[in-house]
Symmetry: C2
Subunit: 448 residues, 2 copies
């Protein structure tokens, strides 16, 4: 089959753009409305998206948010939300973010396995290390662990979770009422993990789903982040302003995966794209300008503060002057570097910078017609910059509907996107292989 | 309004009785079938139950299970499962069990607040300390913490969670698109908790629901357990073989609550009842005998082992002889004492004992006609032994349908049970007060 573009939909109920909640199209209470999230899921499924994707933070940011905007000060916990949306949908996947730093592997493994079972194989776990001081102080710490420590713990956390997901081989359950034999005990396995950060015996008390186990997703851009992704991720969410840096990232990740013995097509690179789509270029520009005009300065600065490390007080600076040097951070190192790059490249003032990143926090923003957007996606897709994209509609549901009604048909016409779901599980739709149970592999290799 | 019986439904997909999965009526894969849990929720709602209740354990028990039976070796995590069931139902509440020992308060507060928001105010949290060695070794421990330590941590955990649930006053969200004012920052509160076990700043990033916050449920029977329940519980799940001990417990709990300044009617005592209901007494007896005949010895002994502390190997004893002395346990102390009491009172052999507790792990079992069951419930309800009951149908869906079709109409005829839901939230149906936000109370007291 011809290779086609994979699409994730990044749909926070509060909207993507910092000022989205003020847009006439967006319900102001979207972030805390279950009905609105249900509408978004059904809409994304109508658009044949592979997955509904949600970020997550374990705090209300004090001085500024990495997600940005007070419309996102409160909302749902992603795994419970997606569990509720799963039975209301049929094909779309659900990729929820959860932290390796502030959860225990047994609990992480369990909630995602449960979501995977409820959704009949449509779950994904976006692995994050949670890089904010605001979260650290909600979990018994005075300040967050260093970057390296978090990634080391993340690596071990993912390893334990994956082991736990294999606790039951696929043919464990016999359930013979006549004989009374419910399981084959030889097919149940303990993890017996003893490591630096965790000691976990197992087995997990949730079985595997139709897709084996949830899809592993990651977004780390630093060297640590890339190493973790190459080793364990099946989908990578990434952030680039230019095809050149996206290509560098794409090739690097595929090479790292190859070096670790993985097949490069089993790790999908999906840059974020925030599209303002119009029937004409002017209409698209007008949509962009309308949202920009709604930004509350305080929100824009809070977002900028969150994304640059959280230590600068922009009230002390001239907003129409340049971005000052940024102090080193133990938070999101690569995001900080990306913001710096954008500021320097465009020679933005502080005000222009927060207006620009207000759309999608540094993700690639396209303002144009459906043809122009499709051209860009096609160029990236066909030139080793992307296997697919995470679409971040700036306001909801309007910008999502625009993408579905205008861009999707254009991509379909070019043969670049599906016209029907390939399967019912997230793996089937993403074209990812079914992960054989590690203990079944061992058993079979012994027999052979 | 006249006081009426409150009813919870204890409906594990794998069935209550150790051998339930072998019953012709019960789907053998019920524990891992989402469709079956959906059917159970809809059935319980048809019966006008206040809540669907699920126990939880953070392990696959090694030598024996406190829930019992290999049919329960794997299943769903309760909060994700209930989130999925919430949008498919309208009135029934969802009481999920979660551990204060193996979770962090910020995560606990968050997932229950999210379930409460998704269900529009129908969530309850059954607070447990998780008393098994099998769970301890899944969370970095070599053996579980002592009983007292677990209860001390539980008390603090609940305190932090309740504080976090009040992070946003009910009128925090202004959401004025014109002015750009999304919140009133004076109505957002940090918890600033610094205690022996936890340090949690807050605020929580989930707002309060239609019922304020989830209903707090507990089941501890020991002195520690009763103290914790009297201080924080709104519903108490309890286990008694006789009206006399139920009355002692009922009065003790209400007195403890009164002593702590609480109104005794704001803490509902609900003993567990496992009913085998027949159109005749003989039919009911036959249902009981049929299930007993399906018990696999190994499962019966595993359950007995789990409930008596997990340290005896019953293979070393004559199963037709008496229960040996039980070694002291740091696990479920009061459950162990209850099993001892049952064994001594009935002069049960080991075999007879596991056959008896196979139904409902020591909960009160009634075998009889609808009139007989209703008589017993009425007697307990009208004589300070119970405000309601947690019904544990031994097999599913049959025994649940029997209760709904035979016993509920009998209770309704006597004016003892509702004929329609009183409200849409769990609190409204249970007759529990709306918990005012602590910070709003403070503010109002300053104004007055």
């Amino acid at each position: 089959m011809t290779r086609q573009i994979k699409l994730g939909a990044f749909l926070p109920g509060g909207g993507q753009h910092v000022a989205a909640w003020r847009h006439p199209d967006q319900p102001a209470d979207g972030a805390t409305s279950f009905e609105f999230h249900k509408q978004l899921a059904l809409t994304a499924e109508r658009g044949l998206f592979d997955a509904y994707f949600l970020a997550d933070g374990l705090a209300v940011p004090a001085k500024g948010g990495t997600e940005g905007g007070r419309a996102k000060i409160a909302g749902f916990e992603p795994v419970t939300l997606f569990s509720a949306l799963a039975p209301l949908t049929k094909n779309i996947g659900f990729i929820a973010t959860a932290s390796t730093t502030y959860e225990e592997p047994y609990n992480t493994a369990r909630k995602f396995a449960s979501l995977d079972l409820i959704s009949q194989g449509r779950a994904g776990w976006n692995v994050v290390t949670t890089a904010t001081e605001a979260a650290a102080v909600n979990f018994n710490l005075d300040q967050q662990h260093p970057h390296d420590y978090r990634y080391e713990r993340a690596q071990e956390h993912v390893e334990v979770v994956k082991k736990l997901w294999d606790s039951f081989e696929d043919d464990t359950f016999i359930r013979d009422k006549a004989s009374g034999q419910f399981i084959d005990p030889d097919k149940v396995h303990t993890a017996d993990h003893v490591g630096k950060h965790f000691k976990v015996k197992g087995p997990l008390n949730v079985p595997r789903s139709q897709q084996g186990h949830p899809v592993i997703v990651q977004a780390g851009q630093s060297d640590n982040g890339r190493e973790l992704a190459a080793a364990t991720a099946e989908v990578i969410f990434t952030s680039h302003q230019h095809i050149s840096t996206a290509q560098e990232f794409y090739r690097d990740i595929k090479n790292r995966a190859r070096a670790l013995g993985r097949r490069p097509e089993h790790i999908l690179v999906m840059p974020g794209v925030a599209p303002f789509v119009g029937r004409t270029e002017e209409e698209a520009q007008e949509k962009y300008r309308a949202l920009t005009s709604l930004i509350v300065e305080e929100d824009g600065l809070a977002l900028l503060n969150g994304l640059t490390g959280g230590t600068l007080n922009f009230a002390d600076y001239d907003l129409d002057g340049p971005l000052p040097p940024l102090p080193a951070t133990e938070g999101m190192k690569s995001r900080q570097a990306l913001i710096r790059q954008i500021a320097d490249e465009h020679q933005f003032t502080i005000r222009e910078l927060y207006q620009w990143i207000a759309t999608a926090r540094g993700h690639f923003t396209i303002v144009g017609t459906a043809e122009q957007v499709a051209d860009t996606l096609q160029e990236w897709f066909e030139n080793e910059a992307a296997d697919g994209f995470n679409i971040l509609p700036p306001y909801l549901p309007g910008a999502l509907n625009d993408f579905i009604d205008l861009v999707i048909p254009e991509l379909q016409q070019r043969g670049l996107f599906r016209t029907a779901y390939e399967g019912t599980t997230l793996r089937e739709n993403l074209g990812l292989p079914y992960p054989e149970n590690r203990y079944s592999i061992l058993r079979n290799s012994k027999v052979a």
